[in-house]
C-alpha cells in the first residue's frame, strides 16, 4: 500500500512527520497538499529543509493532487499525503471519492471556535461534523500524533 499515511498536521513538514513517522514507515516521499505552499517558492524551500535527503518532498494543490492519488497508491514509493487542514482532506475526498481509506489526525492546534479533544488536537464543532461526514463516506478517521501513542478513533473525539 504505497500511500502509507494520510495525515492532517497544521505544522506540515516537521520532526514528528519526518522522524516520528518517517523512519518506522520507511517514507520515500511526502506529498504536501496545500494551495498556499504550492504558490510560494519561499515556503517550499523552508519545508524542503525539514526533510532528510532520503525523503523526497513534493508540493501540490488539492486540485493537482486528487487525480494523482490512485497513481501514488499503485506506485512503488512509500508515500505520505500531508495536509494542513481538515478542509483540504475533505477537498481531496470530494475530488477523488474513495481514493483515501484512512485519515490520521496528527496535530491541529488551538484556534477560533476550537475545543481541546486531545493534547495535540483541537477541533471546532464544524470540523468535527466534517470528519463525521467523511467517516460516513467510508474514511476511517483516527487521531495519533506519533506511532508510539495510542490511536484514538473519531467516535471518542466528540
Amino acid at each position: 500500500m504505497p500511500i502509507v499515511l494520510c495525515r492532517v498536521d497544521d505544522r506540515l513538514v516537521h520532526g514528528q512527520v519526518v522522524i516520528g513517522w518517517g523512519r518506522p514507515l520507511g517514507l520515500q516521499r511526502i506529498v504536501l497538499v496545500d494551495d498556499e505552499v504550492r504558490a510560494s517558492d519561499w515556503e517550499q524551500e523552508l519545508y524542503r529543509m525539514a526533510a532528510p535527503p532520503e525523503i523526497a518532498v513534493e508540493f501540490t494543490s488539492a486540485a493537482e493532487a486528487a487525480p494523482r492519488l490512485a497513481g501514488w497508491d499503485a506506485g512503488r514509493e512509500r508515500v505520505l499525503i500531508l495536509v494542513g487542514a481538515i478542509g483540504t482532506a475533505a477537498d481531496l475526498m470530494r475530488r477523488a471519492p474513495g481514493a483515501l481509506r484512512k485519515l490520521n489526525l496528527g496535530g491541529i492546534h488551538s484556534g477560533s471556535g476550537r475545543r481541546e479533544r486531545l493534547r495535540y488536537l483541537y477541533l471546532s464543532e464544524d470540523e468535527l461534523a466534517m470528519l463525521q461526514r467523511l467517516a460516513r463516506e467510508g474514511l476511517e478517521v483516527s487521531a495519533q500524533d506519533v506511532p508510539s501513542s495510542r490511536p484514538v478513533p473519531l467516535k471518542d473525539l466528540g
Binding site: D10, R11, L12, H14, G15, W42, L46, Y47, M49, A50, G84, G107, I108, H109, S110, G111, R119, Y120
Partner: protein
C-alpha cells in the same frame, strides 16, 4: 534593559525557557533574552509569538533544531525584518556570548554567537 540586539530563543517543549533561565542566572542579565515554546501552538500562533518576541528589532532569533516548526516560524520573520538574523542549534555557550557582545549589527552578533556555540561543542 540596555540597548543592543534583542535575543529570542525558540524551541520545542521547555528548552527555550530553560536555556534563557540558565543564561540569566549565569550572566545576571535579565530582559534581553525572550523564550518562545512551540508547545501546543500551530503555525500561525507560533509565528505570532515569535513576532511579538522580536518586537521592533534588531534581533537575533536562536532556534533549537536546524529544521522544523520553530525554524520556520523564525525564518518567516526575515523577509519583513531586515534587522533580524536566525541562528540554529542554540546552546548555552552561544547565548552567553550573545549576552556580552550584542552591540554590533545583528549579522555580526549572530555570526559571532554561532561561532562561539560551535566551539563549545566537543568530545573529550
Amino acid at each position: 534593559m540596555s540597548s543592543g540586539v534583542r535575543g529570542v530563543v525558540v524551541g520545542h517543549g521547555g528548552v527555550a525557557a530553560a536555556l534563557v533561565a540558565a543564561a540569566e542566572e549565569i550572566s545576571g542579565m535579565h530582559g534581553v533574552l525572550f523564550p518562545v515554546s512551540n508547545s501546543g501552538l500551530g503555525k500561525v500562533d507560533l509565528e505570532r509569538r515569535v513576532l511579538e518576541a522580536v518586537g521592533e528589532g534588531p534581533a537575533v532569533i536562536f532556534v533549537d533544531l536546524p529544521s522544523g516548526s520553530c525554524l520556520f516560524a523564525a525564518m518567516r520573520q526575515l523577509p519583513s525584518h531586515p534587522d533580524v538574523r536566525v541562528v540554529t542549534g542554540v546552546n548555552l555557550v552561544m547565548l552567553l556570548e550573545f549576552l556580552f557582545h550584542r552591540e554590533q549589527s545583528p549579522e555580526e552578533v549572530a555570526r559571532r554567537a554561532a561561532e562561539s556555540g560551535s566551539k563549545g561543542i566537543g568530545a573529550r
